[in-house]
């Protein structure tokens, strides 16, 4: 049965994608889901395994654009086989440029119910991304400014996660704000933190999940940042990359602005001001 059951959760890295997915999965399941019991969301290594099981040739035999050309057909198949909603984690930039390795869109539009687009202030993304990759903040800032930047598409080796083109922070943000290929709900990480019940209620509504106020409160409480970090400390988190000392780091807004030097903030504003203004981000001095 062809139905609109795919819910891509798209974001630049370290912008609240996992938190959003956890709350949404809990709402969908009707009970809180533990971080290590969360579905793999067709992301990373899971996407490769799925591709290799379904596509006519293994991804390791194909060039990035060939994998990209077949992925929509693989996702159509996932949509057809699924019993209910399928949440898909993605850092892929919206389509629209010829070199993104995403062809005419990674997600087949006729299968997508809605896209949840999460945006976080780049001054908070930068230190979190540096921590995640085990690199310096300046290097993370440079990566955020890199046009058509890729994740895990290394031509010289086989990365287990299937690669994505996340683009620069601006390309990613503007692309998803402006796409008309899908119904997109853009949510700011800062607003999710300030008003989780209100914002996740909006997300549930576009996903078509009828969640009671109690269920919403329970899902949000179970996914509170300090609880996630405690669970990671006790039991680990299977999605943490080896480069990262801890997946759940600060979970706050505004911390990065104070962690960065004025020069580092200036680089982010120089690179991303138009996109930052579009989502109404301000500088410390504003």
């Amino acid at each position: 049965m062809s139905t609109r059951n795919l819910i891509p959760i798209v974001s630049y890295p370290k912008s609240g994608n996992t938190w959003t997915r956890l709350v949404m999965e809990s709402l969908w399941q009707g009970a809180p889901v533990a971080i290590n019991a969360m579905g793999a969301a067709v992301y990373g290594q899971d996407r490769r395994m799925l591709f290799d099981a379904l596509a006519p040739v293994a991804a390791s035999e194909l060039l990035p654009h060939e994998v990209a050309a077949m992925l929509p057909e693989v996702l159509r198949h996932v949509s057809r086989e699924a019993e209910g909603l399928v949440f898909i984690k993605s850092h892929q930039m919206a389509h629209g440029t010829a070199r993104t390795h995403s062809g005419d869109g990674l997600f087949p539009p006729e299968c997508v119910r809605a896209v949840l687009h999460i945006v976080r202030h780049p001054c908070d993304v930068a230190p979190s991304y540096a921590h995640h990759l085990g690199i310096g903040i300046d290097e993370a800032i440079a990566r955020m400014g890199q046009s058509l930047a890729t994740i895990a598409w290394t031509p010289r080796r086989l990365d287990l996660p299937l690669g994505e083109t996340c683009g620069s922070w601006s390309e990613h943000t503007l692309g998803w704000l402006d796409t008309d290929a899908y119904p997109v709900l853009t949510l700011r990480y800062e607003d999710l933190l300030a008003d989780p019940l209100g914002q996740f209620a909006r997300a549930a509504a576009v996903a078509g999940i009828a969640a009671s106020a109690d269920a919403l409160a329970e899902a949000v409480a179970a996914a509170r940042f300090d609880r996630l970090r405690m669970t990671e400390a006790e039991a680990g988190f299977r999605e943490r990359p080896r480069s990262s000392p801890g997946f759940f780091r600060s979970g706050t807004s505004g911390g990065g602005q104070r962690e960065l030097s004025p020069a580092q903030r200036a680089v982010l504003w120089r690179d991303h001001a138009p996109a930052m203004r579009r989502v109404e981000y301000t500088d410390l001095d504003d």
Binding site: L54, L63, E73, V74, R157
Partner: protein, 285 residues
């Protein structure tokens, strides 16, 4: 386009090039993208490349589409088409590289998913004097109760970083495909089917160690490492697949090789040398 003829390494099977194939395989199910299957028949329709039909475990028909490149057709012949042919024959397309130790005495199959380190380990063993039976896909048959590994290709496919880690210069190596920094590493090959002495399934849990799974786990491990397991049911081969898995596990020790991707390749290779010396125990260090 030069594909017609016998299927290498598969006695009796033939490839025919045909002008056209119907789009629909009547009575089949669309079990995966581009793919249709029913008992005895399989079809893959790849836009801009070709339609492939595989029948009775004996015949591959190819109808190339206008403008298709021979290399693309070859690529897909080695993927779902080849595994469908093997499943149709009631044989086992094992996702494994198979090697024969210097002293002979049967092949060791190193199984695992993409990126688990099969080819890297095969290259290390090649350096230690082992001969290659097949890289990445090893066709397993059972003859008079004995599992046999069939030769396929004469080279190991290795990514550039794996070459670098083993001090292999890539300058003179042929790339697997244009634009891909993955190379054919030529190595000594065996050309005859050889008795399968053991299967080591790569496992990314901490190690390295060789662990002996229970019989049930061993059956599951072998079955999970069959290529394209989703073809099996629509091809009507579930019972045949269960039979060959049981026959292989009954005749050949299966071990879990932990530490894949984590432990040094040399340490993993040492364990496989121990396994080759004593497949039944397989615990020599």
């Amino acid at each position: 386009m030069g594909f017609a003829g016998a299927v290498p390494g598969m006695p009796g099977a033939m490839i025919h090039e045909v002008a056209d194939l119907p789009e629909v395989l009547a009575g089949a199910v669309h079990y995966a993208p581009y793919s249709q299957a029913m008992p005895g028949a399989f079809q893959l329709n790849l836009p801009d490349v070709a339609r492939f039909r595989v029948t009775g475990g004996m015949l591959i028909e190819i109808a190339a589409l206008p403008g298709a490149a021979g290399d693309d057709i070859r690529l897909f012949l080695g993927g779902a088409v080849r595994s469908a042919l093997i499943h149709q024959r009631g044989e086992l397309p094992l996702h494994a590289s198979a090697m024969i130790p210097p002293g002979g005495g049967g092949a060791v199959a190193i199984a695992g998913h993409s990126g688990a380190g099969k080819s890297t380990l095969a290259a290390e063993l090649s350096r230690r004097g082992w001969r290659l039976v097949a890289d990445d896909l090893t066709r397993i048959t059972v003859e008079d109760g004995r599992p046999m590994a069939w030769p396929g290709g004469g080279a190991i496919k290795l990514w550039e970083d794996a070459c670098a880690a083993q001090d292999i210069a890539t300058g003179a190596l042929a790339p697997v495909r244009d634009g891909m920094r993955k190379f054919y590493l030529p190595c000594a090959i065996g050309t005859e089917p050889v008795r399968l002495a053991a299967i080591a399934v790569l496992d990314q849990s901490p190690g390295p160690a060789l662990e002996t799974p229970s019989l049930g786990e061993a059956m599951a491990l072998v079955s999970q490492n069959a290529l394209r397991p989703r073809q099996i049911a629509p091809l009507g081969q579930a019972a045949a697949h269960a039979r060959i898995v049981a026959a292989v596990v009954g005749a050949c020790p299966v071990r879990r090789l932990t530490g894949a991707r984590i432990a040094p390749v040399a340490a993993l290779a040492d364990l496989l040398e121990g396994l080759a010396r004593d497949p039944v125990q397989g615990l020599a260090r």
